[in-house]
């Protein structure tokens, strides 16, 4: 029989933040087993299970592990870096994992450390997650005192408020004590990552999935999920839904099941207008796409991305221009400023959308939104620039009529009555320079 959960298993029944409780559900047994195996065997097991990264890109963890040169073929240490800088709007799963199963996450980190013979594990947790950092710190201390770390050093590093640091190369820069700005690649982290040493960097949930894989083996793990993406994932459900929250389910459940069965449908009996399937960065879906399965390949085939499996439900009270403007202000704020298309383009998009929302936009402005999007996408070192246009670009594409009405009628058709009317946002950018004078 297949397990139902692989990440939050047992957390409803027990306080798994405690080492003794975690041990009663088999905690750290997989670490002990892994340490009796050769690193190559551990890598093979994880590779066979086809565990795809849960941070957003869905890159197979086994491939990342294999790209790290083995201990006898490298100079100097290797590192494991756990990405707990969860900042994608809509995502709050890593937070729950750390709060409820910190030891499982740590066990996954330590198994990964054994697989690449790493000298140290660095856990980069976003600065806002103070309560979670304290839970994790206590778990680390307990595991350290119990001698579970062996020769491995475990360091908890707190961020200080920057979305971009969830991007792996920006995270490494930040961890090295610099501004969190992405690096050109190659070299990729498995070859030259932290301090230019071979580094395995994985998302919190990915690492927290490793103990279950070691326990179940590839075949039983694959009984959950779909062939192209086995296992479970913690879906973060939010927005205009009756029962928002985190739901750990097999990969491949449909949006309909997640929203209407687990989330109990759209809140307040409203009509569904739009669904953002993978965090604010990904292209939006419309209600006719409710039967799309939530796994990496299915969502991509339907024109979007599973991303961090953060599903945001939007009902018919929201104005899509306002939503686009709010999303774009986020990307403008979070653009690190290194690449011109992203830094200047996000500012330009914000100005254009403000103009359209105010009813002052012309046809040329609306066309320019699409044009500017095409000038940003694919033209920066990291994906933030892409994210900044996938959201807005898809809103325009899927809700063109609504944008057009703003232009044609010279006013927001909601007339001040939308749920997102006038929502304020932090307005500066991380680069903290004066706004460039862009035409808009």
């Amino acid at each position: 029989m297949a397990a139902e959960l692989t990440v939050l298993t047992g957390a409803d029944e027990r306080d798994l933040t405690r080492l003794d409780e975690y041990r009663t559900v088999g905690g750290y047994r997989q670490l002990a087993r892994a340490r009796r195996m050769t690193p190559a065997t551990v890598i093979e097991r994880i590779s066979k299970a086809s565990l795809r990264g849960r941070g957003g890109a869905g890159f197979p963890m086994g491939r990342k592990l294999s790209l790290v040169p083995p201990a006898d073929k490298r100079q100097g240490p290797a590192y494991v870096v756990a990405n707990a800088d969860e900042s994608e709007p809509g995502a709050f799963k890593d937070r729950e994992i750390i709060r409820r199963v910190p030891h499982r996450f740590l066990e996954g980190c330590l198994i990964a450390a054994h697989a690449i013979q790493a000298e140290a594990v660095f856990i980069y947790i976003r600065g806002e997650y103070l309560a979670e950092a304290l839970v994790l710190e206590a778990a680390i201390e307990e595991a350290r005192r119990a001698g579970l770390f062996g020769q491995v050093k475990v360091v908890l590093h707190r961020g200080a408020g920057a979305y971009i640091c969830g991007e792996e190369s920006a995270l490494l820069e930040s961890l090295e004590g610099s501004r969190g700005q992405p690096r050109p690649r190659p070299p990729f982290p498995p070859v030259a990552g932290l301090y230019m040493q071979p580094t395995l960097i994985n998302n919190t949930q990915t690492l927290a999935s490793v103990p279950a894989i070691m326990e179940l083996g590839a075949e039983r793990y694959a009984e959950l999920g779909v062939a192209s993406a086995p296992g479970t994932v913690v879906y973060s459900l939010s927005g205009n839904v009756t029962s928002p929250g985190n739901y750990e389910l097999p990969l491949g459940v449909t949006l309909r099941e997640l929203i209407f069965e687990h989330g109990q449908g759209v809140a307040d009996g409203r009509a569904l207008k739009a669904i953002i399937p993978g965090g604010s960065s990904v292209p939006v879906f419309t209600p006719d796409q409710l039967d799309v399965q939530l796994d990496f390949d299915s969502v991509q085939a339907a024109g979007s991305y599973l991303g961090s499996a953060a599903v945001i439900v939007v009902d018919d009270r929201a104005c899509m221009v306002q939503l686009a403007l709010r999303a774009e202000k986020f990307y403008m704020h979070e653009s690190c400023g290194k690449c011109t298309p992203c830094r200047e383009g996000t500012r330009w998009l914000v100005r254009l959308l403000e103009k359209i929302e105010a009813g002052d936009g012309t046809q040329a402005d609306l066309d320019l939104v699409v044009e500017v999007c095409s000038r940003i996408e694919g033209k920066s070192l990291c994906a933030l620039g892409d994210f900044a246009v996938w959201c807005v670009g898809s809103y325009v594409e899927k809700f063109r009529g609504e944008f057009q009405r703003h232009v044609d009628e010279g006013r927001c058709p909601y007339g001040g009555e939308s749920s997102t009317e006038g929502v304020p946002a932090p307005s500066d950018q991380h680069i903290h320079t004066a706004m460039a004078q862009v035409p808009a």
């Binding site: 709007p89 927005g239 985190n246 946002a425």
Partner: protein
């Protein structure tokens, strides 16, 4: 401050390269002084053998480092998509009324700094208000008077 210096050295010892301790050191300095003045930045730089410019470059990049004095209490409201859909604007407006200041401002008595933040990772429990780094999820406009009263009493 010898005490701060010692704490920074302890933080630096946890990393293979001392420079990695810039963020923890800035946090320590901020906890010590309440904000990061140019003098505090210099102190961090000296403790880590970096230039003040190195340290300032980092301090100015991250939202959580205060480069100006802040109030004794910090009230932050997330207004990102999920919170916006759940009525974050109304929460912001209620706070403006109760606190008597706009986002980005500190009350005249230096008690409270009020600001807007980007997604805090509480989307399922929106709208999210963070008071002195502790999440209040969800916070409805009706909760605001009590929240402010509680702050004033602390």
């Amino acid at each position: 401050m010898a005490e701060l210096y010692d704490e920074i050295q302890k933080a630096a010892a946890r990393y293979p390269q001392r420079r990695s301790a810039v963020m923890p050191a800035l946090r320590l300095a901020q906890e010590h002084y309440g904000w990061l003045s140019p003098d505090a930045l210099r102190e961090v730089a000296d403790a880590l053998d970096l230039t003040p410019a190195d340290v300032e470059a980092v301090a100015t990049f991250y939202d959580m480092f205060n480069l100006e004095p802040v109030g004794r209490h910090l009230v932050e409201v997330c207004t990102n998509l999920s919170c916006a859909l759940a009525g974050a604007r109304q929460v912001v407006e209620a706070l403006e009324i109760e606190l008597g200041i706009a986002p980005g401002e500190t009350s005249d008595d230096g008690e409270v700094t009020f600001r807007l933040i980007e997604c805090a990772g509480g989307c399922g429990y929106a709208p999210v208000v963070v008071v002195d780094h502790a999440y209040r999820e969800p916070t409805r406009p009706a909760d605001v008077p009590g929240l402010v009263e509680e702050l004033r009493g602390r």
